[in-house]
Every structure is written in structure tokens, then in C-alpha cells.
Symmetry: C2
Subunit: 468 residues, 2 copies
Amino acid sequence: MQEVKRSKIKDLLHFEPGREVLAKGWVRTKRGNKEVAFIALSDGSTIKNIQIVCDKSASGMEEILSKISTGACIGVRGELVESPGSGQAVEIKASEIEIYGTCDPVRYPLQKKDTSFEYLRTVAHMRPRTNTFGAVLRLRSQMAYAIHEYFHNKGFVYLNTPLITASDCEGAGQMFQVTTLDLGNVPRNKKGEPDYSKDFFGKQTSLTVSGQLEGELGATALGEIYTFGPTFRAENSNTPRHLAEFWMIEPEMAFYDITDNMDLAEDFIKHLVRYALENCRDDIQFLNDRYDPELISRLEGVVGTDFVRLEYTEGIRILEEAAKNGVQFEYPVYWGVDLQSEHERYLVEQHFRKPVILTGYPKEIKAFYMKQDPDGKTVRAMDILFPKIGEIIGGSERESDLGKLEARITELGMSRKNLEWYIDTRRFGSCPHSGFGLGFERLLLFITGMQNIRDVIPFPRTPKNAEY
Amino acid sequence: MQEVKRSKIKDLLHFEPGREVLAKGWVRTKRGNKEVAFIALSDGSTIKNIQIVCDKSASGMEEILSKISTGACIGVRGELVESPGSGQAVEIKASEIEIYGTCDPVRYPLQKKDTSFEYLRTVAHMRPRTNTFGAVLRLRSQMAYAIHEYFHNKGFVYLNTPLITASDCEGAGQMFQVTTLDLGNVPRNKKGEPDYSKDFFGKQTSLTVSGQLEGELGATALGEIYTFGPTFRAENSNTPRHLAEFWMIEPEMAFYDITDNMDLAEDFIKHLVRYALENCRDDIQFLNDRYDPELISRLEGVVGTDFVRLEYTEGIRILEEAAKNGVQFEYPVYWGVDLQSEHERYLVEQHFRKPVILTGYPKEIKAFYMKQDPDGKTVRAMDILFPKIGEIIGGSERESDLGKLEARITELGMSRKNLEWYIDTRRFGSCPHSGFGLGFERLLLFITGMQNIRDVIPFPRTPKNAEY
């Protein structure tokens, strides 16, 4: 079969009929009658299959067909012809079929009988072969590319911040420890504690929970940077919204104030949604038709609207007013409270019916590095709240004043020792700067309409689960 | 200073003179005489500085200038004028200067007096502010983008394989363990061993040493995939070529045989080098002029030549011949030996004087998953050997025959239990496929001409070192 070059199905479907073609892929279905067999072939390049028509009277065809079942891997040579059936423009009239790998229909894990997402998570090594996970993984890849392209075109430097870190060992309960010590025989120091001087890095190390602080080092040297890499949380949360290992995008920009930061974040997220609508239409249409009939309209809604920009204080006023008027919230609303998902969703889905950027949060509920407002009460934080998802982006202008940053670190009783390198950015040529973080899987939940975060990453890591 | 929009220096340098401009950045040097001061300003957008000319007789100028020293962060408004000096076409005649952050010249870690790479590694949080590391980090970013763009344009799916894994716990001495157990009080099971059922994932887990096996799951479903992410080795190697945390690119392609694999790898690496020469010329020129006068010619050499494709057996013959003719090798050469760096460099730098793709290695020195040749002795491995770097890419066609793969696993005494998911790819619809791996930092050593791998990653992790 070497004389014809193999074509991907994505391309084949747009060729003019009449050509000799070679397709390779996996059998999705085989059906037919006494004279003809129809094979739906997929090669992962598109959500669509190509239909293969096999004339059973051809020499050897019946024998070959007898070995082909769902999941088998084959190569098919034949003529691309107009399809008389509906649903496809062209199909392949097979002249030769080669079997690369058969597939035992009894043992094959992807059976018609159970296609629930719960079941497919138990065979996550095979689920990329299904239509749904093929679509999700292609979308994931396209979104990753759109992110790199967006920042590259703006001149941002892609900065790889470290995964293994010794700098953020506070709140270690939430972090994964990284070690080469023998857990069956941990060496001890004189105090009887684990002797980390014998560990690989000579000290206690963990997996990063954020690349932001290192990102600030990059921004205050290179101007505009972004990170895009894995991030870890050892939270024992078995929910549809939590992963122990997930991917984050964290841009950080010198000379951006909070307004520049909001402008960038809004433009960025709209760009990504628009990119998906324009470049991944087949996969999104499939997910829309199969699972979530409002998916496309929700995506279009985000692209076509100006996000509301709302002060936290005003947000609280709206929520208090709503409560007064009979809206039932499970959690109380008052100035100073950290908003719950129900509050965010009320603002976004009921009150404004569009995405909201909430700013000016009380400093007590936000991180130490955020720029303090002159009132001494609020900080220049910004959270972008989305329909269905809630918070999709969190960011802030950073405190660039050395004295204020140091005072806040002391006030919160944080250990300065591990932060001296970070404080150096304010000590030497400090500059106003801002940044934000986007959880990649949160974005993908929004783009795909999937309900469970375990279904938008190839190999989810959650409590008690690290298969493959 | 709000009426003029800030421009990046990369752009400013190409503007027509006569415009009012606003530049923001960090002071590289300040010099001058009684009448005028000259400030070289950098903002990280380019290796080049913009020269700021300050008339000391202007109101308040002397006072402002007295606070400005190397490392300070400032904003400068003024007219862009033709520069009378050599070395730059334009400069800014300052009308207004704002200081964002001063920089104590006594305490600033980036002093003229010690700029050795060894010293700069001890202040890695500041070194991105130097010319050299600015250039290296911009090149790193550009190369990452070129990689994503290359595969995206070919329709490859970017697949995020897991970082935390339970599947590859053999050879655990080389792996970092990931745990939430309290090392001061490790729970024990009845046998007295660490009780991993109490660990976060309910079993022993480590950081991945390669995404390839999971990549094969993607390729045998989606067709063509690539990974690009962090990878870990707990080797206690303090050398200029080893990192405990580094980034790998691993493409994996269904329906590619070893020749397709070589074709792709050669095209890929040439594309990256060409991209660097065409898109990052200023930074490469700087590194060429400052450190390595053969850098550009070495890069051009790779782009303009067909790589040699050589069987291992023939390579051994050439090396034996050379030894017979008086070439001194430290390590012996005979069929079956794993080539040492000196052997690879002889072939590439002395014998052929161009990159070499070595194939058909003895199966004993290669991994279990490589496709066995009919002779029973060799496998379809391929290593690409580069001048100065040695092996830059390693790959193979994969064994797609279930029986042969299982026999090899048994022969090597490997535990099948953790590999059943991988074997499933051969059990159900097995397909011919190939792939390779490129160490990102190895590529960057070649592209930048830097000598030490710790100098091509922002925050290197090596034995006893996990700062920042």
C-alpha cells in the first residue's frame, strides 16, 4: 500500500471525489448486509468518521472483514467517491484493507453497554478513543495553543517557574512533599526530627502551588511574562471542581496597574473563547448537540459583551438588597465576607446576566502581596466571575512599596526568611506591576461544557487516584 | 505622564525621530559630564538599550538624577531624536523623569565587579536583569513557541501527561517520591513497611521521568500527539549537563515507522534552529559576539546540511578503524557497547563533520518498548548526535506486536502489574507507531552556546539546590 500517501480523515473529507486515497485509523462501527459492509473509521484528527464501503464479493474481502470489529486498527486503500448516504459528502470504496491490530470484542473496555463518564474514568487510558474525549482533548490542545499564541504575539516571555520548591513551606498541609529519603528509615537530626540535610536538596521541598512569586522576578526584569505549567494542591477534596495536579496560566506584567490588568484579562479570555468558536467548531458543536444545548450560546454571550466592573462594596450592597427582597442564600452576606459560589452566581447569572470583574476586596480575605488601597481596608484584587463556573480568573496589582509589603508580611506573622529573594524585587528598582492566574481546567470546563474537572484532563490525579 | 502611551524599547528603536515618547524600564548605566547625563535604559523587550539624554540645567533634573543609579526603575518622557553617537539610531531627549524604585548601589546584587556565571547562579532571582540571561530567557521563550507552533501546524495534539505517577516505581532510586505522609511519624503496615494506603493517593507515587508511555496512549487514539512539560530525575549528578528538574518534548505518532520518525525529527530540529536564526537574531548575535564566535556558524551548519543516517554496526566499524589508526579513546569500542560521549563526538565532529542519526542499536542497551528487528539482535532505535552536545534526540519505532512486547517485558524481569494499561494499546487495535524525546535544555545549550545547563533554565534544581 505504499504507492498512495496516507491522508488524515480531517483532510480526506474535503478532497474532491475520484481520487485514490489511503486512510488509516480505528474502527468505530461495522455494519452491513449480504453484499456490502460499512465501516466507520476514525483517526483522531477530527470528530468525524470516514465511511468505508466494502464489496463483499471482492476476493478475500469476506475473510478480512471477519477479523474486523470495533476498535480494530486498519489501513484502507480505495477510491474516494461521492456518498449517496446523508451525513457525509464522500466515502471510500475499499479496494484493499490491511489489518494492523485486531480487537477482541469481548474484552475491549470501550463497549457500547457502559459509556458513562464514571465508567470511562476507570479506563482513562482508553477513553481518548471515544468521540467525547477525542473532542475534549483536541479542544484542550487548541486552547493551549491559543494561549501561547496570544502572549507570544504581545511580546510576553514564556517563563518556566520551578515545580519543586523550598520557598513556600508554610501551610505545608496543602502541599505535596518531594523527597528521596527512605520512608522506611527516615534519618533523624539531634532533635529527633527528619534530617532534611540528607535529602536530595538538603532541605524540605514541596511541589509548587503557584508560580506567581517567581513570575514577578521575571516581570521585573523582562517586562511581561507568563507561566503555563502544572501546579499542585494536596487538598483532600473529592469534588467535581478539584484536582491534585492541574495546569495554570499566570501572566505578570511590569508597569500594569489594576485597570491595565483588567483590560488584559478581559481581552485574553474573550480571545480564547472566540478562538474556540472559530477554530474548533466541529468539536464544540458535537458537545453542544450531545450534552449541553446552551454551550454555544453561552460561549457567544461571553465574546459579545462588556464585562461588568464592580467594586466588592457595591457587590455586597446588591447581595444584601437581594437578601432583603427574599433571595435565599445559604451563607450570610456582609461587608468583609469572602463570597461563596452562590453569591458569585447570583451576581453573574441573576443580577447582571454577564461576566463580572469584582475589585477592591477587603485585604483580610486576600493575599499579602496585593497592593493596598489608600483607605487601608481594601486591596487592588480582581476576580473574574463567569456563568456556571464562578471564579475563572483571580489577580491583582501587586504591592510595590517595600515598607508596606514588609509591614503586611510581619502583620500576618509570615516567615520572612523564605521570602527575602521576593522582597528584593521591591528593594532594588521596584516597579508597579500586576498579574493574574487562570486555571486551565476551569477554562476548559467553560469551553467544553463538561461538568466534572476529571473529564477535561487526560489523567486526573485526585485523592486515592494516580493511575497510569 | 498619562497623555503619551508607553512604548516598549524594542518598538521605540524603530520609530521615526520627532515623536513624543514614554519609555519605562531599568537603568543599566548612568554617565555624563557637567552639562548632560546619559542613561542606558533596558525594559527586557530586547537586548538593546535606549539612550536617555538629560539636560542637567533643566528644572529639578539634577535632583532626580542624584537618586538614579544602576538598577533603578524609571519612566522617561521626551522627544525621540536622531542620535549623534554611534551604536544607536535614536535616543530620547528627556523632558520628564519619574522614579518608580531606587536601587541602593552598595547592596544591589548585580555589581560590575563579579559577573561570572558561578556568582550569578547564587543570585538567580536577579540574573534575568542581566544582558546575558535576558537573551537566554527570551531565546528559551521563542524556542518554546516555535515548538508549539511547529506541532500545531502539523495537526498534532498537545497532550498533558501526568507529573505525579504510580506507574513507574521501578528504579525508584532515580525518582523523587511524592507524599503527604508525615516524615517525622511515618505510618506502618503490619509488615513494618511505610503504609502507603494512608498516603494521599493510597499508594507510593513519584514524579515522572518521561511522558512517553502515556503519550503512546494518546497517539493510539488521536493519531499524532506531543508532550512538552517538566520531567524529573533524582540522580545525584553535579555536572554541567544534569538537572533534577528539566523540560522535555516528546512527540508520538501513529502509523510512523522508523524512517518517518527520522524524517520528522530532522525536519523538526532544523526548523527550530532556523526559527532561532530568523526570529532571535539580536540575542544570538549578542551571545556569539560575547562568548562563542562560532555559535552562528554552528547553527547555520545544522540548517544547511543533510544529517548522516548511520547504522550502529557501521558506526562501530568506523570507530574501530579510527582506534586502529591511532585515535585514542578512553573507553573501549566493540559491537554491543553503549557509545560514550567521546565516541559520539568523534563521529560527528571528526569523521562526518555534521549531525548523525544513529540507528539499529543492540537491543540490550535500549528500552523494552523498542521495535525488534527481524535479526533478533537490534532494535529500531534512533539517536540524533550533534556537535558539542552529543545526543540531542533519542527515539524509536515502538514494538507494536503484543507477543514480542510481552516476551521482552518477561525477559527483562519487569513487573507487568504496573504496565497492563500500557500493554492494552497492543491488545486492542494495535498500530505501528514511533516517537522521540528532545530535552529542552539540551536544545537550548546548542542554540545559545551556553556551557552549563544551569544557565539555560530560570531556576535550576540540582543536588542540594532548590532556592526560590
